[in-house]
Subunit: 165 residues, 2 copies
């Protein structure tokens, strides 16, 4: 498996110009830990008020995960209404950053969880001609190892664009 | 192709006991029409304040679509923030109703749109052992024709459970 970068990742503006404002809502932590398979398949970007932001280690697509730090939550409707609203704000924040960084053609946003039930939201930057296009990414192409410097570059761009704890 | 119902659809409580409260927000209409492929593949349930609620005519899964009635919108982040929040409220409302009606094992919620760019959110009731389980539904099994009475029963249950215009 060849280690690759994401050809569409471009450099963002510097740390003085975040593309989103800080969140108004602060959510307390709870008894929660990241499910091991999600941890194994991803790299940490940082924490938003509700969710942990991760990058999937698959060079086929720039692919984020948002995982609300709430124990025992599997479906969106297992969150309370304020947390649902906060999750939507965090999805929008991460989506805007990912679109700005990658100049992608389309965003795919999904909460599936049939195999890993811990609630996690996929946010995937899709490009006409990518490894699965126009199909959804799941099961479409084997994961492709990421070059460490490409992964670090994407994480750094996300950290500049998103106000993280 | 055999016309079938959804084996997991159960009858809801009567019209006097909606499972959700009416929405607080009213959103004005705009120049919008449902994309023809979505219209062809689905049956109308009704309108929420922001979105049209549809049932996909695929007896493999109880499968809803929410389509915000906004022209030219492809990604979640193309909506304004109040509309994003409203869409999340409508996703939660439709999801709760679908889960109550079907007693499903898992909900799958996704906004993909690689083929049909008009923003639409899939809400799918998944069951361990269904035609695609545990994979995502897209491309997993050919659509299975719905028996008209099963489709009508699901639509009626949704209309009892959800406050529609």
């Amino acid at each position: 498996m060849q280690a690759s970068g994401w050809p569409s990742v471009i450099t963002m503006a510097g740390p003085g110009s975040p593309i989103v404002a800080p969140f108004m809502m602060s959510v307390p932590a709870s008894n929660w830990s990241l499910q091991p398979q999600l941890e194994n398949d991803s790299a940490l970007v940082g924490d938003l008020p509700l969710s942990r932001l991760l990058v999937m280690k698959d060079a086929n697509y720039p692919w984020l995960l948002l995982v609300p730090r709430r124990a025992g939550v599997s479906d969106l409707i297992d969150l309370g209404e304020p947390e649902q609203a906060q999750l939507m704000a965090e999805i929008a924040c991460a989506s805007r950053a990912l679109k700005a960084i990658t100049s992608c053609d389309k965003l795919n946003v999904a909460a599936l969880g049939n195999i890993v039930p811990q609630l996690h939201v996929h946010i995937i930057a899709r490009r006409n001609g990518d490894a699965a296009w126009p199909k959804p990414v799941w099961g479409a192409a084997p994961a492709k190892a990421c070059a460490p410097e490409a992964l670090a570059q994407l994480i750094a761009a996300l950290r500049r664009a998103i106000p993280l704890a």
